[in-house]
């Protein structure tokens, strides 16, 4: 892509499935996921990086999809909130959110779930302080955060005991 163009040809893997598309150069990743792929789990709040509702992972690293161009993502692997649950149902973090009443309107929830999942992949036994630090980039206007923090800490515990069980067997 050495010559500038208003459209780009990209190939992106989202939640394990590869899509090849011709997109407008200015298409954000958030709009690409929602409008072009119909994956509306990724929400758009502020569209300038302030709220975290649009958080996804790009090659395993957290990213704000409103601050990323689809054109930059050629060859990348994306995971969205839709990619969290597996064949056995909800991801432990999703189950913990349900259990702990960590969502009300749900607008911010996809961003929190993706962020928390990325954190627990890196830090299996986070302190409350670490959880708050990782989640500090996500804004929730309903819950007051306490139940979200509780849910993430309890999901961490569940995931740790699952790993222990797996290791023991």
């Amino acid at each position: 892509m050495n010559t500038p163009s208003k459209r780009t040809q990209i190939s992106i893997t989202v939640n394990g499935k590869t899509y090849s598309r011709d997109v407008e150069a200015r298409r954000t990743l958030a709009d690409f996921l929602r409008e072009d792929l119909g994956l509306t789990g990724t929400h758009i709040g502020c569209e300038h990086g302030a709220c975290g509702a649009c958080t996804v992972t790009v090659d395993g690293m957290l990213a704000r999809s409103c601050l990323t161009l689809a054109s930059q993502m050629d060859g990348c692997e994306i995971r969205t909130v839709e990619g969290l649950s597996g064949p056995n149902g909800l991801h432990p973090i999703q189950a913990a959110f349900k259990e702990h009443h960590a969502l009300q309107c749900g607008y911010c929830t996809p961003g929190f779930l993706v962020t928390a999942a990325a954190m627990l992949e890196e830090t299996q036994d986070p302190t409350e302080g670490q959880v708050r630090d990782w989640l500090s980039g996500n804004i929730c206007r309903c819950t007051g955060y306490q139940f979200i923090v509780d849910a993430v800490l309890s999901a961490a515990e569940t995931m740790r005991s699952e790993t222990e069980e797996r290791d023991a067997s």
Binding site: N2, T8, S71
Partner: protein
């Protein structure tokens, strides 16, 4: 909002990148991690004709940790400063500052060089570059040159980089033995830009007397300012006996911060004074630890 219409290119070599910059000049804007440019595009505060994605240039991802210098390519993400322990040990000042920049999601995309080139007066990394006397390696079709941090940052969101030039790396001097570094800031919320950010480096002699001291302040004017304090009453004293508060106040009297929605000029001056006092003491106590460790070896 959505970004305005532009053309997009993703050159696969420095050569192609420089061709594009020469052809489009100030009509073009390079994008690295995009954490500064994307908000500007979405808010329609920037409208470049061409956006040049520099992520496909393989050399730009290089990070070279040498004895005296760390060479950071323009695609090295801020997050690396948090996860690479060798790098953290070499440039402890940046290691401390990086956790205060935005959030994990923005640091995972945002690059070290990108934040410096954006030159926000309240951003953490330009303050670090200024204190350490970092050097920017710059290239254009016409050749290469090196710009030191002091002449790189011009004013708010302005550097001395020409439109057809690109930074190919920033060179950070590594921590010196017997010198301690510290960084602190006051911001309205976690991850926000600082109201004021202050970095300090303090060197101690073997018997614990101050031999060198420097401070850099961001958020108090259009660009980070560096104040050498070696020639002040700090010199030749133990840090706990030095009149830190008075020295900080003298520096603050020379600052001309602006008032805005977030803080008045007076408040900015007061927090500058407090932060300076703190980071000087912290830097000195780290220098002392460094010396004790060396003697123990």
């Amino acid at each position: 909002m959505k970004p305005p219409v532009f053309e997009f290119a993703a050159p696969d070599s420095l050569e192609h990148c420089l061709d594009l910059l020469e052809r489009y000049g100030d009509e073009a804007k390079p994008i690295a991690g995009g954490q500064s440019l994307m908000p500007l595009l979405n808010l329609r505060m920037a409208a470049p004709a061409v956006v040049i994605d520099i992520a496909r240039v393989p050399d730009f991802h290089a990070l070279r940790i040498e004895d005296r210098t760390v060479r950071v390519g323009p695609m090295v993400r801020q997050r690396v400063m948090e996860t690479n322990t060798d790098l953290r040990a070499r440039v402890p000042l940046l290691a401390e500052a990086v956790g205060l920049i935005g959030h994990v999601a923005t640091r995972s995309r945002g690059t070290i060089v990108g934040s410096m080139c954006h030159a926000d007066p309240a951003a953490e990394l330009p303050v670090c570059a200024t204190l350490l006397g970092a050097e920017f390696a710059v290239a254009s079709k016409g050749g290469t040159r090196t710009i030191d941090a002091d002449s790189f940052f011009l004013d708010a969101l302005m550097t001395t980089l020409e439109p057809e030039e690109i930074v190919t790396g920033v060179h950070l001097p590594t921590a010196m033995p017997g010198v301690g570094y510290a960084f602190d800031e006051v911001s309205r919320r976690r991850g926000d830009f600082a109201l004021v950010a202050v970095a300090a480096a303090v060197g101690l002699s073997d018997d614990g007397l101050v031999t060198s001291a420097d401070i850099a302040i961001g958020g108090a004017s259009g660009r980070p300012e560096r104040f050498p304090l070696t020639e002040t009453a700090l010199s030749g004293r133990r840090i706990e006996e030095a009149p830190l508060r008075e020295i900080a106040r003298e520096v603050c009297d020379r600052l001309e911060p602006e008032s805005d929605l977030h803080a008045s000029a007076d408040y900015r001056r007061r927090i500058s004074e407090e932060l300076m006092t703190r980071v000087l003491a912290d830097a000195a106590s780290r220098a002392r630890k460094d010396l004790t460790r060396e003697h123990a070896l």
